[in-house]
């Protein structure tokens, strides 16, 4: 009883402390955007943050579909491959200078330069042509129906501002003016920034769009420690935090004045195999062979996973099983192949016997322990499920900073991977995870196990170029059917997205884990 009373007093005190400036919105996240330069780093924390300040030709709406931003409309070019963008007139940058096609041209050159981390977006582009002040053509090497979708995070800088301040190229080794200063066309501008500590944003009075938010000042604080972040929310010092750990959901829900926002990210968590490994690296009983090269063994591993138990025990019922490498709702999702391989330990044992391993075998399973929600616990659970059918996983886990290098060096028999399609299209995981690795063609760069199927490789260019949605979907369906039949990966589930806020905050939780200030209302 006493504790309840204390809670009430605490709540009342924090309310009086912060209600004086109702439209000041304070939020926290676990990572500080490391730079204010929209072309320097291709990472979600940076791009999410900068989408409040800079804008692209197109942008994603609350439901993730593409809509016009600095381009009012766009259409395919008629006599060559590519797209024409008709730009919005009368848009000004935050320093007052006018936006036109020269800025787009400049930003393209900057973002596709060797110093830019986002240059892969422009790999299909052959040439960019300015037609007049408000028309610009992006000519592509081949038909590219997805191109406008793929540049939703390509943000436009002012040419004059960048040149005047020596920020013609993104900073690679040393900082430059654009690393800490901003000049976008977007709804917010940076009022002050203390990297790693605090960033204050203010609405851009000259924004071309109609403001849907009612924020007069927004203060961002990175809080690395999850418990500290939760305490900051519960004490009323911040209004919103993304993300919160799964185990804290009950605590937030149990308190008056707070709410948990749950959704699904577009990230599918999966197990991958060392397809091209000649032998197991971490086995105590199999030498000179890699049983996972046998499709029956891979299927057995898939049948061993009880996703319902994982959901119940580890995720409090917040996940959905995945059948393929993208979740439903992503364009190209194969409805025709939407059943995941069933939990069937008997079948798994039978398949192993058929493959010549009636007593199973041991192998090494690699997992990160700080990359995905509950990643280590998931792998422990999976290892015991594998063991139940005779697959004895030697689990080793480690921080993600050390994890990717290990996967690149092929130091695994089986590994955990989460994949979020950057373009929100099935083509993305086909290109990165299913294509035969080929660094020249920039294919399969995250296909660590070296999965290779000629038909899949042959279909990818056609999928990339096909304009007719039905024909395209048929090809995607074929790829998904092949990779399911071959158990190229074991898709597990879509990662949940868990944010928490005060009750008086309305906001939009977008599936790409981006947080847009322009959809926030403080009531």
């Amino acid at each position: 009883m006493k504790i309840l009373k204390l809670v009430f007093i605490g709540g009342a005190m924090s309310l009086t402390a912060f209600s004086a400036s109702a439209e000041t919105f304070r939020w926290a996240s676990n990572t500080d955007p490391q730079t204010m330069d929209p072309h320097a780093v291709n990472s979600a924390p940076v791009l999410s943050f900068l989408n409040n300040i800079y804008e692209g030709l197109v942008r994603r709406n609350q439901g993730m579909s593409i809509e016009g931003s600095l381009a009012q409309s766009w259409e395919p070019l008629t006599n060559e491959n590519g797209w024409r963008f008709n730009l919005r007139e009368g848009v000004t940058f935050q320093d007052g200078s006018l936006f036109n096609s020269e800025d787009v041209m400049f930003s393209y050159e900057r973002a596709s330069s060797e110093a830019a981390d986002v240059r892969s977006w422009f790999a299909p582009v052959k040439e960019v042509r300015v037609l007049d002040d408000y028309t610009i053509d992006f000519v592509t090497n081949a038909p590219n129906p997805l191109f406008p979708d793929s540049i939703a995070n390509f943000m436009i800088l002012d040419k004059g501002w960048a040149e005047a301040n020596g920020a013609e190229l993104p900073a690679r080794d040393a900082e430059n003016f654009a690393t800490i200063n901003v000049n976008g066309t977007g709804p917010f501008t940076v009022a002050s920034r203390d990297p790693g500590i605090k960033t204050v944003l203010a609405p851009n009075a000259g924004w071309w769009g109609a403001a849907e938010h009612n924020i007069t000042e927004a203060i961002f604080t990175p809080i690395g420690n999850a418990a500290t972040g939760l305490a900051a929310l519960l004490s009323g010092e911040i209004d919103f935090i993304q993300p919160i750990p799964l185990q804290d959901v009950a605590q937030v829900e149990g308190r008056n004045g707070f709410k948990v926002l749950e959704g699904e990210e577009t990230r599918v968590i999966m197990f991958g195999f060392g397809h091209e490994h000649k032998e197991l690296l971490y086995s105590s009983d199999v030498t000179g062979a890699n049983p996972f090269q046998d499709v029956r063994v891979r299927q057995a591993a898939a049948h061993a996973i009880d996703i319902a138990s994982i959901d119940r025990v580890l995720f409090r019922g917040k996940i959905d099983g995945a059948s393929q490498l993208v979740p439903a709702g992503i364009s190209g999702y194969s409805e025709a192949n939407s059943t995941r391989s069933a939990y069937d330990p008997e079948r798994a044992k039978a398949l192993l016997t058929e493959a010549g391993y009636p007593n199973g075998f041991s192998f090494g399973l690699k997992c990160p322990n700080d990359r995905y929600i509950n990643d280590e616990a998931l792998c422990r659970a999976a290892a015991s499920m594998f063991a139940a059918v005779g697959l004895n996983a030697e689990l080793s886990t480690g921080p993600v900073r050390d994890y990717w290098p290990q996967l690149r060096e092929d130091a695994f028999d089986m590994y955990l991977l989460g994949w979020s399609p950057g373009t929100f299209d099935m083509e993305h995981p086909i290109r990165f995870l299913l294509s035969t690795p080929n660094s020249e063609k920039k294919l399969g760069s995250w296909n660590f196990g070296g999965y290779s199927n000629q038909r899949v490789d042959a279909l990818l260019p056609s999928i990339q170029q096909e304009i007719d949605p039905a024909k395209r979907q048929a090809m995607v369906d074929e790829v998904v059917a092949i990779t399911q039949a071959e158990a190229a990966y074991i898709p597990l589930y879509t990662q949940p997205l868990i944010w928490a806020a005060k009750d008086n905050i309305d906001l939009t939780q977008r599936a790409d884990n981006f947080f847009m200030l322009r959809w926030v209302t403080v009531n």
Binding site: V118, S120, R172, T221, T228, S235, E237, R401
Partner: protein, 324 residues
Amino acid sequence: MVYFIVKRMIQSVFVMLAVAFLAFSLFRFVGDPITQMTGVETSVADQERLREELGLNDPFVSQFIRFTGDMLQGDFGYSYRTRQPVADMITERVPATLELGVVALIISLLVGVPAGVYTALKPRGIWTQTILMTTLVGVSIPTFVIGIMLIFLFGVQLGWLPTFGRGGTVQIGNWESSLFTISGWRALLLPAITLGVYQLTLTMRLVRAEMMEVMRSDYIRFAMARGVPMRKLHYKHALVNTMVPVITIIGLQFGGVIAFSIVTESVFQWPGMGLLFLESIRFVDIPVMGVYLVVIAFFFVLVNLVVDLLYVAIDPRLRLRDVE
């Protein structure tokens, strides 16, 4: 005396070189900075180009020589994570860590020394037993648990104190201080207590043990027999003689307080060097990690030097020896 200080300074350069070498040889096992610096869509060829540009393909020895060479010329390099100059990033964070460490030290001395004297003079009192029990509990709980408990009690349940950050700060030259605002002090209290608890217990137990020892010595008994007032006896004669070992340990511990404020800074999101270091580990930001460790080594050397000088100030016997 000057010779002594100069000698120590020269020694410190070797200490820092050794630390830099050890740190550098460990960095290879921390992880790969390139995968942290680039996005998932960055091609392998672009990653390799960046690796080459940053000199990460060079042999360990030449990387180390380049790092120390640049540092000796005053060039601390640029952070892989933020692309900012490392020297600026560290110097901006130094005031927060030092203020936290010093306030934690002061709290531990203000509470620890009197408590130590009290528990030594009244070894069987009920308060003595209570204090000893409480501090034993305090020192057995890990720092981050103490921090989280304090946050949830005073920040969340009672709502008296902020749960994170530094509060209001005042800029004095290059020094950003939170010691001149109310909100700064409110923010400082919990982290300083968290950081100071261990130090406090140590000080108290040390003062207690030394004091009990000194109280048994002959000169105290004689003083007592001569009728020196108890108060003067305790605080002038006895306490001062306990201070040499106390200062040694506390001084050496202070270096540790600065270095290990990492945990406290992380729990309270305290924007000091420790938090910067932690973020840098997560990101494999080798330049920042390297410079941080060297700076911490320098602090240790400096603290040791100050401790040695304090001896001389406190113990007249050492001064005499110096003159001879």
